[in-house]
């Protein structure tokens, strides 16, 4: 069964040419900046910048179209939930109140709430293009090497590589196991009552876990025989050398992070307030 997942395509663009380590650092600093700031101006600039970079990468739309669907659903549900739980959150943050219209009970739509939720939306939106870019333009082979280069212990970096290596194999096992369980009548759908369903899930997971434990033993034996983990460092076949554009990209992200922090905290608050008279 084919299930869509985000995966790398080999293109030749300035973004693809950057090393994985650069893109990883860029993504981490970018995300941290986006998490810290609540300044609408900063977020808007960041969003425009990320969309611009995304365009340069020339990643084909059908590569990530399916994700946009998930993102949209999450987006709508999350914003409804915020409003339902706290319709006047914006009012309490910005300290003013401009009503637009009243719905019922405690639910009144205010400009402050709309602006607050716009900021949340922006914060979320700013990270998405960069996250997608990182995934779609970084060769998974380079991933572990990149993690190691930015300071992650090579053993842990390699475990990430192992995870990427075995995801398709485990997905195939999981499918086969659940097929054969279904054939024997083990049902995990709504047709069964909850306690039965839980027991049936355990019956499907058990063979998956046992074969995985076995797989772990086999792989560690093979890695042991091939000399993994003996040295204090290891080299990487797929590591790519830093070029000028990598240094430029890194300088750029440090600049962006610093600028966003300065602008955000300049007036002593994370929130940019348009409601001050």
């Amino acid at each position: 069964m084919k299930v869509k997942m985000l995966s790398y395509t080999d293109l030749d663009t300035p973004i693809h040419r950057l090393t994985g380590a650069t893109k990883l650092l860029f993504f981490v600093l970018w995300s941290v900046s986006a998490m810290i700031t609540y300044d609408t101006r900063v977020l808007v600039v960041m969003l425009l910048f990320s969309l611009f970079v995304f365009k340069i990468s020339r990643v084909p739309f059908q590569q990530y179209a399916f994700v946009l669907y998930f993102i949209l659903i999450f987006f709508v549900l999350n914003h409804l939930a915020i409003f339902l739980f706290s319709p006047l959150e914006g009012v309490s943050i910005y300290g003013t109140r401009h009503d637009i219209f009243h719905i019922a009970g405690r639910y009144t739509v205010t400009w402050e709430q709309l602006f607050y939720q716009l900021n949340i939306a922006l914060k979320y939106a700013v990270v998405i293009p960069m996250a997608l870019l990182f995934l779609l333009t970084t060769d998974p082979s380079e991933f572990a090497a990149s993690l190691n280069r930015i300071g992650v212990n090579y053993r842990i970096a390699y475990s990430v590589s192992l995870a990427l290596r075995y995801i398709p194999d485990i997905q195939r096992d999981y499918e086969n196991i659940s097929f054969s369980a279904q054939a024997r009548g083990i049902d995990t759908s709504r047709k069964e009552k909850l306690p039965t369903r839980l027991k049936n899930i355990a019956a499907i997971l058990f063979p998956l876990i046992l074969t995985s434990v076995e797989r772990i033993d086999k792989i560690s034996t093979a890695m042991e025989l091939r000399g993994f983990g003996r040295g204090s460092r290891r080299t990487w076949y797929s590591l790519r050398p830093f070029t000028k554009s990598d240094y430029i990209a890194l300088a750029l992200i440090i600049l962006i992070a610093a600028a966003s922090a300065v602008i955000t905290f300049y007036d002593g608050s994370r929130f940019y307030n348009i409601f001050v008279e």
Partner: protein
């Protein structure tokens, strides 16, 4: 096996395979409970079991790596507050429960209680405290919303691990029992 080292080869491979399992179960092993917006996330039963089998280092890293990869590959962008919460679940269960000698087939009443205390503590810290506080700190979401979400997620994960996680651990321990005592019956 280099048992002394925190990062033995086996631990590293367990982190890799555990993370891959987390990704697959996180995407395909989510089963509706019938209560709106609440699913049985079987992946946390797996995380709890692997923390029990392979210890706190494996637990925390499977939580972090598995959750990041799952969000990234299938949903485009990781939701960091929950990623960190998953890491904490693995860490706390590993710290409290990994002294249980489950590899020698030991998982009786006492161990079941210990495992469940560990998982309840872990899920409570992660979902009732850490995840909501991070949601507020990072995303400035309304407090009552994130605490309610945390409460639902935590409670459902506690139940999931209590039932599925315990069943799996008992089953696993039975595969490790000594074989010497068996005799054929006519």
């Amino acid at each position: 096996m280099a048992k002394g080292k925190i990062l033995s080869i086996k631990t590293i491979v367990a982190i890799g395979i555990g993370s891959a399992l987390f990704v697959i179960l996180g995407r395909f092993g989510s089963i509706p409970t019938g209560i709106p917006n609440t699913n049985i996330e079987t992946t946390y039963a797996l995380l709890a079991l692997f923390a029990l089998l392979y210890g706190p280092t494996a637990g925390v890293l499977i939580g972090l790596i598995g959750h990041t990869l799952k969000d990234a590959i299938f949903y485009g962008s990781p939701w960091f507050s929950w990623v960190i919460a998953s890491g904490i679940v693995g860490l706390v269960i590993g710290l409290i429960a990994s002294r249980i000698a489950i590899h020698d087939g030991e998982f009786g009443k006492k161990e079941i209680i210990r495992f469940n205390i560990a998982q309840i503590a872990a899920n409570a810290v992660a979902w009732f405290v850490v995840a909501p506080i991070l949601d507020i700190a990072i995303y400035a979401e309304p407090a009552n919303k994130v605490f309610t979400q945390g409460l639902i997620a935590g409670a459902s994960n506690i139940v999931t691990v209590a039932v599925i996680g315990t069943l799996l651990a008992i089953a696993y321990s039975k595969t490790r029992t000594k074989k010497g005592s068996l005799t054929k019956q006519a």
